[in-house]
Symmetry: C2
Subunit: 347 residues, 2 copies
């Protein structure tokens, strides 16, 4: 029997956003308003994750989730292309006076983080980048922690169900940030509504719908489509509690198209188009996290300089609708608007 | 003041599908069940359109719409690329023993069809491929006929509102068949839910939501998102009343990814991936209807031979959910399931 969903009266989840935006303050504010907040364990040490969980528990009794990245396998041919990409990036790094990073392959301390989380027992542990090792799921289940797996295709959903997922985070093509499924190749580019319908054929597990949801009507739409919860990321990026870089938060308000790109991390992610995505498109290998590590100093320098053209500006397709409002207010408004939208649709 | 929507108690529109699938029988069955049926005027003479309207009126008193294609302008550089594409296609045509078509540019008898429709006054005339000439909209409005314009971006929506549209057909990236907006370049690839939210910022006109809607939950979802009506195309392709080629109807049941391609017509359209889409990708110019005319004999021969690999297999992303059920049954089921889904989402 799958472990049940935690209570989420607002039916809104604040998506985990690694690399800065997800903070203890954001998760606490979301939880206090009846949503489900998330911490993002990616790119942090296990100790840092434990420390964040402790601070969040001190801030609120509300349940929350923690997202962990599954280890990613890279084919050797792609790994071999990293040095060519580094050569292409070298002039850009030189122009900023920084050295490129070492393109190392790591598993982001996966086992240590899972061990810590099995001990600390958050209300949910979700995984992105495909199904984690069976030992990770087993350890969490043994501790009574529900496991959510991210899917972007019916094939992902079959794998997640077979692995023992308790719920699926169904990520449509509209979503900002990294594609969270089991493969970095997605010829089908499935939008959220068809993806929900196709995944529903695979499983009766609860579905958490993600991708391009920007307002209460969007929340209502995915609930009507059969999702148990609606997950929003970009919508929270401009909240004062989020740790979004100012240059990123400002760029979200601009009406420029997003694009799915590997240029920043070696793994497909949706970002605002900028000089980096257009000039480097087609050159980046599918090598994560090697490319992530390679470009990190370049991106940090661009962020520090406030230069939106050389930075990973993760954004979902409805990014211009993100508002600079406190997260708790946003959660309450989304829930109220969703209720109104469902009532209006029936009339 | 915009002209109002016709009464559509089932809140379901059967999308116009030119080139065969849309038939008088399909539109009649949809209308009889409380949906809004559509005839597709594309690739037909004005006389043939008038004849179809007459037969449909004889079959049912229900309101129906007729879709017309707006004239498409092609930049000279793209038109010049047509002969190179013809050379690439020549061996394929030779292998089938057919000659390629003349790559002529036509406006598909636009003015003649609009004149006929202003006279016959269907409940709606919709346009794809951007805003038609002002004289077309004026003629229909003078006859009291509501004009719906197809949009795939907020920019399209602004243009449609400025042109005097009475409602917008909002076509998400998920949709099968031709992209119906004002441009053949869509870097933003907007999924239906974010597109609805972004278009709603532009206008309060009624929105008809299209793209990847496959079942009653999908209908409920777009109504909750604020659409007035849900438009489905692929879902009707396997109905016995549809004029879908057998090879096309059979291919829809296969679990293969769709792709947005210009290889068949010179204008972007979502189709099941096949040998033609993979081998010709990147070679087809943005020249519609030149490429449409060029490839027509090749596609007709493949269709006659039952060869799914050389044919335009238009399909939305949820194509595997299309069922071979009578259209009226499908409309009634969609309406009932949508009501249930909206009630369930509120609980």
């Amino acid at each position: 029997m799958p472990l049940p969903l935690p209570p989420v009266p607002a039916r809104v989840v604040a998506a985990p956003m690694a690399g800065g935006p997800s903070t203890v303050a954001l998760a606490a504010a979301v939880g206090a308003a009846g949503g489900l907040g998330f911490l993002a364990a990616g790119y942090r040490t296990a100790d840092a994750v434990a420390e964040e969980v402790g601070r969040l528990r001190a801030a609120t009794p509300a349940p929350f989730g923690v997202n962990v990245l599954s280890p990613v396998a890279v084919v050797p041919a792609e790994a071999a292309r990293v040095s060519a990409y580094a050569e292409l990036l070298a002039p850009r790094a030189a122009a900023r006076g920084v050295a490129l990073g070492e393109p190392v392959h790591t598993d982001d301390a996966h086992d240590a983080k899972v061990a810590v989380l099995a001990q600390l027992r958050p209300a949910v542990v979700s995984f992105a980048f495909g199904v984690p090792p069976a030992r990770s799921i087993d350890a969490l289940h043994a501790a009574g922690v529900p496991v959510w797996l991210t899917v972007t295709s019916p094939g992902d959903a079959r794998a997640a169900v077979a692995a023992g997922a308790d719920a699926l985070v169904v990520q449509g093509w509209e979503a900002g940030g990294h594609r969270g499924g089991g493969t970095d190749e997605e010829p089908a580019q499935l939008g959220l509504l068809p993806l929900l319908a196709l995944v529903r054929r695979v499983t009766d597990l609860p579905l958490v719908a993600a991708g391009g949801i920007a307002d209460g009507r969007g929340v209502a739409a995915v609930l009507a489509a059969g999702a148990a919860l609606a997950q929003l990321g970009t919508a929270f990026l401009r909240a004062p509690e989020a740790g979004t870089a100012p240059v990123h938060a400002a760029a979200l308000t601009e009406d420029r198209p997003t694009t799915v790109t590997r240029v920043f991390t070696g793994r497909s992610a949706r970002a605002l188009g900028n000089r980096a995505t257009s000039e480097l498109a087609g050159h980046a290998p599918a090598a994560y996290p090697e490319v992530h590590a390679l470009t990190a100093p370049l991106r940090a320098a661009a962020r520090a300089a406030g230069d939106a053209e050389e930075l990973h500006l993760w954004a979902g397709q409805a990014h211009v609708l993100a508002e600079a409002v406190p997260a708790a207010d946003l959660v309450r408004r989304l829930a109220a608007e969703a209720r109104e939208a469902l009532a209006a649709a029936r009339s």
